[in-house]
Amino acid sequence: MENSQNQKQYWKENIRLLFILLSIWFLVSFGAGILWVEELNAIRLGGFKLGFWFAQQGSIYVFVILIFIYVKLMNKLDKKYGYDD
């Protein structure tokens, strides 16, 4: 039964990680790029209005970084629970 306990714990941590990463995913795209775009457009980033920048540039950069963070953290998690082979 210890094995299944281990598995449950692993899955729980995995879900928590997914929840955090997907919240960031939602915030940069649907949040900054769509829902609050007008408010953010009052702020400038060089020649960009910030909301517009998130919608056409920033969100995409964050997506790429999110996946690589996920890869790194999951590899660590796999190791912690002995699921790396």
């Binding site: 769509i34 060089g46 699921y83």
Partner: protein, 564 residues
């Protein structure tokens, strides 16, 4: 050398390269044919996925669409990249662990039902065929514009090339040609825009150039907002769609991306779960290079266009203007007979019609780049169209040979027989796709964008629940998929094709003000609700299936994608 010779030369060399790779990487087994033997490195798979993903539309049309819609165009940028986060975090690793060949494989086994498998096959075929017809058309268009052959001839040449490497090499051939195609298409996309960026702002990095100022010290985006206002267009950085619609379209494109069978299947080709995660990261990185550059092209070329034409005498137009007039992509009608070009938002007074594709295709000429760059853009456009077409054709042939013939019709078919069936169905699929490329039914152009809605409405909930909700049963999943895809098809026919009314109903009749493009999100939510409600009132899935779910949640002990 003249542009045509350069184009023949570059297109010829790249085609020879694809065929050479196909011969080198012939498929010897069904496993080679379906999942490239399961031994593709994450980096190569990332490149192949990127090429598979970026179609003629991404390469040729997207920057132009954004150019004319400004902020509203962000739905494509976020939608077609954000989906990879969902794919990497929610689907790819688990499907790789499951370790079969196709999406219907997963649906059929996870929902212990051949009905579910058949529904999944039908959904995969509907999604892939709507998508592939557009690609073959894209091949024809590139040929006709750059090599001055008929669109039909172009489609046939494209068919032969795809046929050759898809039928011979299967997934293995496709994977390694796609790696080459990615390199060609990204190079062809970046070279002109780097020059444009230097000309406009002095910065060689278009992503930075887009937010910089020109020689007059005014930021490009501010200048473009100002020009748009003057000419009566909506401000470039604010757009005109409702926030709700932008939200729903973006969501439909993201979820649809994660649910497209030809993208998902790519993650079956890497050796381990770890590799599936990593290769999703690489894929998005490679895609992001093009997707963050495209909006920069949109800005540079829109400003170039307005500054070149607006209120300028027709006689003083540069050479590229008349070149593209010949193709019909640019047309000028001097309504007020003043000899000058009025480019305005007001349709009655506007004298210039510009096809959106010109924003990418004419770039090298607008920036006065050498002829070989123009030829390179042609080769890049073809690489983009061919790589996507091949990936889709593979899904179609696998669905027929593996999911339908092997899994249902003739389970005892030999390995050799199955491989032959796969090849024959690939030939069949190419011919059908080519037919639609030559005789495009009116609905193709309208439905390509909606393939995402269909994928979102059918596959995503079934796969997601299959992994994250252990108690999900076949009754729930099947009814969810059927109702989801039918609802989406209905909405699409009603509001995009006008099937049920005298004419296409007006926007004001859209349900909740959501466009057909964004309706995939609604249909997906309905799918989720139906699946869960029905599941609650019907029998739990058998213990073995629940064990299967437990098993795919853990990354270790991965089996090779196995032959049954």
């Amino acid at each position: 050398m003249d542009v045509r010779i350069w184009t023949y030369l570059l297109v010829g060399i790249t085609f020879a390269l694809y065929i050479g790779i196909a011969i080198w990487s012939r498929a010897g087994s069904t496993k080679d044919f379906y999942v490239a033997g399961g031994g593709v490195s994450p980096l190569a798979n990332g490149m192949a996925t990127a090429a598979d993903w970026m179609s003629a539309a991404s390469f040729i049309s997207m920057a132009g669409v954004i150019s004319f819609s400004g902020y509203d165009g962000s739905v494509y940028l976020m939608g077609w990249t954000g989906g990879y986060v969902l794919l990497a975090l929610l689907l790819a690793p688990y499907l790789r662990k499951f370790g079969k060949f196709t999406v219907p494989d997963f649906i059929g086994d996870r929902y212990y039902s051949n009905t579910a498998r058949t529904v999944a096959i039908l959904c995969a075929l509907i999604v892939s065929f709507t998508y592939v017809a557009g690609q073959m058309r894209g091949v024809g268009i590139v040929f006709s514009r750059f090599l001055e052959v008929e669109i039909e001839t172009g489609v046939v040449i494209g068919m032969i090339v795809v046929l050759f490497y898809a039928v011979l090499g299967g997934m293995k051939g496709i994977t390694y040609t796609q790696v080459a195609q990615y390199c060609i298409l990204i190079f062809a996309f970046m070279v002109p825009v780097i020059f444009l960026s230097i000309q406009a702002t002095g910065s060689p990095i278009p992503q930075i150039g887009m937010g910089s100022s020109g020689s007059d010290g005014v930021y490009l985006l501010d200048k473009l907002d100002g020009l748009s206002r003057e000419l009566g267009f909506s401000e470039y950085t604010s757009g005109s769609k409702s926030t709700l619609d932008v939200f729903f379209i973006t969501a439909a494109l993201m979820v649809g991306t994660a649910g497209l069978p030809h993208v998902i299947v790519r993650f079956f080709t890497v050796p381990k779960v770890k590799d599936a995660r990593k290769s999703a990261g690489y894929a998005l990185l490679f895609i992001a290079i093009l997707y963050t550059t495209a909006p920069a092209i949109s800005v540079f070329s829109r400003i170039n266009l307005i500054e070149t034409v607006s209120e300028k005498p027709y006689k003083s137009m540069p050479e590229w203007f008349s070149n593209w007039e010949k193709t019909g992509l640019l047309s000028f009608d001097d309504k007020n007979k003043d000899g000058k070009i009025q480019y305005l938002a007001d349709v009655k007074k506007n004298e210039l019609n510009v096809d959106k594709d010109i924003m990418v295709l004419a770039n090298p000429e607008i920036a006065s780049l050498p002829n070989w760059v123009i030829a390179l853009v042609a080769a890049g456009g073809l690489a983009a169209a061919l790589s996507t077409a091949a990936g889709l054709l593979l899904v179609i042939s696998t669905s027929v040979a593996h999911d339908f013939v092997k899994k249902q019709l003739k389970p005892n078919i030999s390995e050799k027989g199955e491989l032959l069936t796969a090849r024959i169905s690939a030939i069949f699929a190419v011919v059908v796709a080519g037919y639609f490329g030559i005789n495009p039914p009116g609905f193709v152009a309208a439905t390509v964008a909606l393939a995402f809605g269909l994928a979102a409405a059918s596959f995503f909930p079934a796969i997601f629940l299959g992994i994250f909700y252990k108690k999900m049963n076949k009754q729930g999943a099947i009814s969810g998929m059927v109702i989801g895809i039918l609802l989406m098809l209905f909405y699409m026919m009603k509001f995009k094709l006008g099937t049920f009314d005298e004419q296409i109903p007006d926007q004001s009749e859209w349900w909740f003000g959501i466009s057909p493009e964004g309706f995939g999100t609604v249909a997906m939510i309905v799918n989720f609700i139906v699946s869960i409600v029905i599941c609650r009132f019907t029998q739990e899935p058998p213990k073995e299936v629940q064990n299967l779910v437990e098993n795919i949640r853990v990354p270790s002990g991965v089996k090779e994608a196995h032959v049954h």
